[in-house]
């Protein structure tokens, strides 16, 4: 099965589970948790760094998914993107009070490796290849690095400035231009 077909299959499965959650089927939430929690937990752990806090956040996320499942429809996007957003926004909320030090993203694959191996290593809900990957490839290393530090590590502009040793204005500019470049590429 192609990566795209796998990804579509999984989307369909997740959508069906969310529909059942909306109908208060607890076994669907359990299955959804089995499928999605390892990836969401990894994302939370990256941002929050403290395992206990990430566990608490993961509980919040699945309580929220259960309560809001009826609001999600596939016409509004991919189920995993929706769940991941709930998780990331919860983590960023918790950061307001919980974190004082910036976070490195030490174990992301190196650029050179990802060119060869990324399709095999990607989570099944990550569409392999296609427009998005080509658009990301157009970014400069600085731009992409800043976007990863922000999105995956939950770092603020100030954190990234400290982490990379670049002036705050430069970091903001790299991020702004990186996002502009992605937008132009994705919508062209």
């Amino acid at each position: 099965m192609s990566a795209a077909a796998q990804s579509a299959d999984l989307d369909e499965q997740l959508q069906s589970l969310l529909d059942r959650c909306a109908a208060a089927d607890a076994s669907a939430l359990e299955r959804l948790y089995e499928l999605a929690s390892p990836f969401l937990f990894a994302c939370l752990t990256r941002i929050l760094r403290r395992r206990a806090l990430a566990e608490e956040a993961l509980q919040d996320v699945f309580v929220s998914i259960w309560q809001r499942a009826g609001q999600f429809h596939s016409s509004r996007g991919r189920p995993m993107a929706w769940m991941m957003s709930i998780a990331r926004y919860r983590a960023i909320d918790l950061l307001r009070h919980e974190r004082s030090a910036p976070v490195l993203v030490p174990d992301l694959p190196e650029r050179a490796e990802s060119a060869d191996d990324s399709k095999d290593d990607a989570a099944p809900w990550m569409p392999a290849g296609g427009l998005l990957e080509r658009c990301l490839a157009l970014l400069t290393d600085h731009q992409r690095n800043c976007l990863e530090l922000a999105f995956v590590g939950g770092n603020s502009h100030e954190d990234i400035s400290r982490l990379t040793g670049n002036p705050l204005g430069t970091v903001k500019s790299w991020i702004r231009r990186g996002l502009q470049s992605l937008r132009q590429c994705l919508e062209s």
Binding site: S37, F41, L108, D120, D121, F151, L179
Partner: protein, 225 residues
Amino acid sequence: MAPQDPYLIDSLAAEYVLGTLRGPARRRFEKWRSTTPLVQERCRFWEENLMQLAKGVRPIRPPPRVWQGIRARLNLAGAEPRRRPARALAIAASVLLVAGLSALLYWRSLGPGKLVEVATVATPTGSQLWKVDVYSGRLIVHAGQLPAHRTDRDYELWALPAGGKPVSLGVLPTTGTAQRSLTAVQQQALANAAQVAVTVEPLGGSPTGQPTSTPIFVAPLRASS
């Protein structure tokens, strides 16, 4: 006053999703998003697309207490947690099926916190796939250089105790190192095992607690000096 310029709206949505919109500006944006379909649409656009940045994030299986906590908070009955491996990292067998396995296990003197056995899983050409270190009460698995593999299955490691059913030792990682505590049942099974096995299972490991497929690798346990 909320911005009207579509370009500005999109830029704010992008930085909100990225997580760099912080503080009062983030909270104002959230209120605005909750009432404005255009803002919601732009957030979804970025949520879908920026997700690709997390492609390198390796899944981590949360401990069972998290699911128990969710059930308690939602007053859910009947959704019993299954025994799961400590960590799920998705791999599959398409290429490795053709690779052979050699495994060496070295028994060492038992003691609290001491290394009690080591298994090296390698291809016939000598490429190490996994190194499994069993301590008293703890298992540490180091992934080696794995060939290309599918992402919709996991490899699961099993102890094969003499005269008993296989006992899961958890899902094998594809990169880096995975650690987990060994239960009394797992320790007992390892102590009585003459062999270990590797099977291909659904993501997260066998849902039944027993192998759902024929082992692709079976390796003897050998005592060492």
